[in-house]
């Protein structure tokens, strides 16, 4: 199935029959005239593009890459990929602004900031810096930039956890990604707790940024290097038959499909990696027989927004499917098209307002849910989406893996850290008695 899809995305332009379904669903063209819509920027403009000639269109830069168009297209036109490649051609020709280079290098930023996270947070987040970044770099001063973890990186935690880790015959590789490494180590903690609770020994191999931020900013060459590095580091594990799971839907999508597809990498090693990589919930849902049912009952409604990347994973709503198994949990899907942020799109000064308008239907949903069901937080699998949702709705957002970890009594959802272990056993007994199991 995957092999058939390795045609260059441009060749799918002939499948377009101009039906306009993509145009009527595109959340970006609905709120701004700067993006004329997926049909125009994708299959139509593609007929006027030619290698070795100047890029004729600039508006393709306003495509956020959310993939709503790909999902609704009845004829499988790879609109988003076509746009991404057109954007790369544009970037190659016009040069990439410093801002986009910075936004593409979140791994480097993460690493540097982590040496002195308090200082880095102050340097980045104080109002004066934000005004300067807005004026000089064009990074919107209101945009929800992340904060460096001040309690150590995921790597620090893993090092500490390593001697106590579960040793098992069942092994799985964990790809944490940059955001978990430097900004939100607790996501990785929750993931490891759940995987170990399922009886798996977790392997955290050396790895680097998946390259998505560079791909979406048109830096294909640099992204290619990152992909190569990951292929070298993860490829042997994939070849040895290990599954590689990640909790960041965008990172896993990039390793799985986006990078090889956009960069025209279709070798055997690439395909082996593609088949080994899973979104963590997609992977868990395949192993429901191995999933412990010792849940702590949680009486709550969780407004849930599946991030755009799930569309490209073509895996349905695995996080929703799994969370709904927790007794007492009622998951309400947002049905919103996009939160607006689309990776680094909403950070950009000229696109911030567009991103906020795009996200409005989601923010409204979250707030209505809050009013109706007194929800305290919502859930979403992707980090930048969560930051945008928190920014736009004012409500805290959690990764579904945090909720699952909490449902096992392993994780404190408010403090976002592991529970002290005794608590778990008490609750476990409680639930099992109450459930009559």
């Amino acid at each position: 199935m995957m092999i058939d899809s390795w045609l260059p995305p441009e060749t799918t332009l002939d499948q377009c029959i101009k039906c306009n379904i993509c145009v009527s669903y595109c959340p970006v063209s609905e709120v701004t005239d700067r993006f004329p819509g997926p049909k125009y920027a994708g299959p139509q403009a593609q007929r006027f593009r030619m290698a070795d000639q100047p890029s004729p269109d600039l508006s393709v830069d306003y495509c956020s890459g959310c993939r709503v168009c790909n999902e609704v297209c009845p004829n499988d036109v790879n609109i988003m990929e076509m746009n991404a490649r057109a954007r790369a051609a544009l970037a190659a020709e016009k040069g990439i602004p410093l801002r986009n280079r910075l936004l593409g290098r979140n791994e480097l930023l993460g690493k540097v900031g982590s040496y002195a996270p308090n200082l880095a947070n102050f340097a980045l987040h104080n109002p004066l810096s934000r005004i300067a970044a807005d004026a000089i770099l064009g990074i919107a001063k209101e945009a929800p930039l992340p904060r460096w973890s001040v309690t150590g990186t995921f790597g620090d935690w893993w090092e500490e956890h390593y001697p106590r880790r579960l040793i098992s015959d069942k092994k799985v590789v964990y790809f944490h990604g940059c955001a978990t490494m430097y900004y939100e180590p607790f996501i990785g903690v929750a993931a490891v707790l759940v995987l170990e609770h399922m009886g798996y020994e977790v392997i955290v191999p050396p790895q680097n940024c998946c390259g998505l931020p560079m791909l979406s900013n048109g830096e294909f060459k640099a992204a290619s290097k990152l992909y190569d590095n990951n292929l070298r580091k993860l490829g042997p594990l994939a070849a040895a038959g290990y599954d590689i799971v990640g909790a960041s839907t965008s990172c896993t999508l990039t390793l799985k499909e986006e990078a090889p597809h956009l960069l025209d990498r279709h070798g055997e090693a690439e395909q082996t990696l593609t088949h080994a990589v899973w979104d963590i919930f997609e992977w868990i849902r395949e192993r429901l027989d191995e999933l412990p049912r010792d849940f702590v009952a949680m009486e709550m409604v969780i407004p849930y927004h599946p991030p755009c990347q799930y569309r490209a994973h073509r895996a349905g709503r695995p996080a929703m499917d799994v969370l709904e198994m927790i007794p007492g949990v009622e998951v309400h899907e947002s049905h919103a098209r996009c939160c607006g942020i689309a990776g680094t799109y909403g950070y950009k000064k000229e696109k911030y307002d567009i991103a906020m308008k795009v996200g409005q239907e989601l923010f409204t949903f979250i707030l209505e849910e809050e009013e109706r069901h007194h929800t305290e937080f919502n859930a979403c699998d992707s980090e930048t989406c969560r930051w945008q949702i928190e920014h736009g709705s004012g409500q805290d957002s959690r990764h579904p893996i945090e909720i699952l970890a909490a449902a096992y009594g392993l994780y404190d959802l408010n403090a976002r850290k592991p529970m002290a272990s005794p608590a778990r056993h008490e609750r476990w007994t409680e639930v099992n008695t109450a459930g009559g199991a």
């Binding site: 039906c19 005239d33 004329p36 125009y40 139509q44 004729p56 600039l58 508006s59």
Partner: protein, 584 residues
Amino acid sequence: MKKLSTEIVVIGGGATGVGVVWDAALRGFDAILVERRDLCHGTSGRFHGLLHSGGRYVVKDPVSAKECIHENRILRRTHAHCIEDTGGFFVVTPEDEGSDYPDRFVQGCAAAGVPCQEIPVAQALKEEPRLNPRISRVFRVPDASIDGFLMVHATVQAAREAGARIFTYHEVTDLLITGSEGDRRVTGVSVRDLVHGEDIAIQADMVINAAGAWSGKIAAMAGARVDIVPGKGIMIATAHRIVNSVINRCKWPSDGDILVPAHTVSIIGTTDTPVADPEDLRIEEWEIRKMLEEGEKLAPGFKKTRIMRVWAGVRPLYKETHVTDDRDISRKFTLLDHQTRDGVAGLITITGGKLTTFRLMAEKAVDRAAAYLGARRPCATATTPVPGARHGYYWLGHRLKEVEEGGLQNQLICECELVTRGMLENAARRNPTIGLDDLRRDVRLGMGPCQGGFCTYRAVGVIHELNLGHAVTSDIEVSDWKVADLHSPASNPSDEGVIAGETGNRGNALYNPNLLLRDFLQERWRGVVPIVWGQQLKQEQLDRLIYLDIMNGDHLPDAGLKSPLSDFYHKDMTPNDHLEEAHD
């Protein structure tokens, strides 16, 4: 009857005719061109768009090759904006190996002066990734892609600026003849204005018959026998460009061996089948199969590529019947002096040839006419750029770039070909227009993958608002008749509303928006029906839903109305079964 008089009347609004009227006007002759339909409606608007380097003829017909490279160089200056400088390759495919043709080709190019350079196969594949990787040799030549519609329009505009008058939708009903057998003289033409139903007599000192495949019929009106065997050739367009250079097979010229990038599509051609009637443009199944098979040899995967349209054009192949025929000019085109040949003075027929050599044909025809008119003035066409030539070659992305820079995305009428409202309005106002098909030739309306399925309705609305449908063709000022920027979104701002209703054509019996709509869709369907499979079938299913179910198009009122072209659009196109057998 309305009467006009002039020095030279040119019959036929194809490349040759407009070349003649342009040449005549530049030499200071008073000239009128009459064309029974729109400019370029015939053969000049139904070819593959190749501006020959001459490479195709270097072995078979070196004289023709020399003419081609000579004219190629001239047209690149005089008609630059009608040309995309794509360059061309002659490739030796596995099927062509084992022949001495490639070596003869190289020698032929040298002898005819056609620049030719052998390049590594890897280099050609890098430039043209869709090219058959199994080719063994590649030669680069200065072929190019030329927009025949724009070329003809630009030439006519140059002629008008030099004082010529152009009457489209004026059909020649007869030649005016004086004298008796053996001493006859053509003194002009009778024409019928098909829009207004009016007859006009045009007195002229010289009539030049440039009616192409129809020129036998014109000559017959003077009692002269000119045997034209219309040679039909089909062309197939892919829905997007699959190559960016002209690709020729390096072998003896045959069917389906040229693939030309033309604006947003690639066109493969062609066949050569004698037909009795030049209006017989039906497409045979074997012709389509042949194109697909040959296309596959040039660009593997061609058969699976979305085919968007097929059409046929007829070459005016002249069959020599008279020993006195003027054969000294070239073997590829023919100048018939009917005074020396048939004893009919005042009439010249210029026929055969190809679009690339239209200027040279016109030069020879006007040279002869000028001699008869006693005014040997030098030809100026080789050194006179037509309006718009200063823009230089066009490139594939130019429309998109202008739409983007001008923020004209919400002005698009034809989304596939990026025709803005302003382009359509100005073309309709400034160019004689009977139906939407004429606007198609002006601005490429409806020429993209949906084949008019969406834009037809919008375009009819725009024309209806302007009240310009079936505009009076002869009342337009020369200065208003602009073509230099016909293809430029940026140069055609829409003045929506300001000019609405200005021409008051509602009194014209032919003016009817439903007729405009039906005519154009019928014309578009003609070219889709023979290739309606795969992705284009999906497209047509949607187009059909829009036409029948959403717009209820088949039940629009005034179904009985006809334009001068309605019958042509409805002509039977059913393939001939017996021909199929012959080729199987």
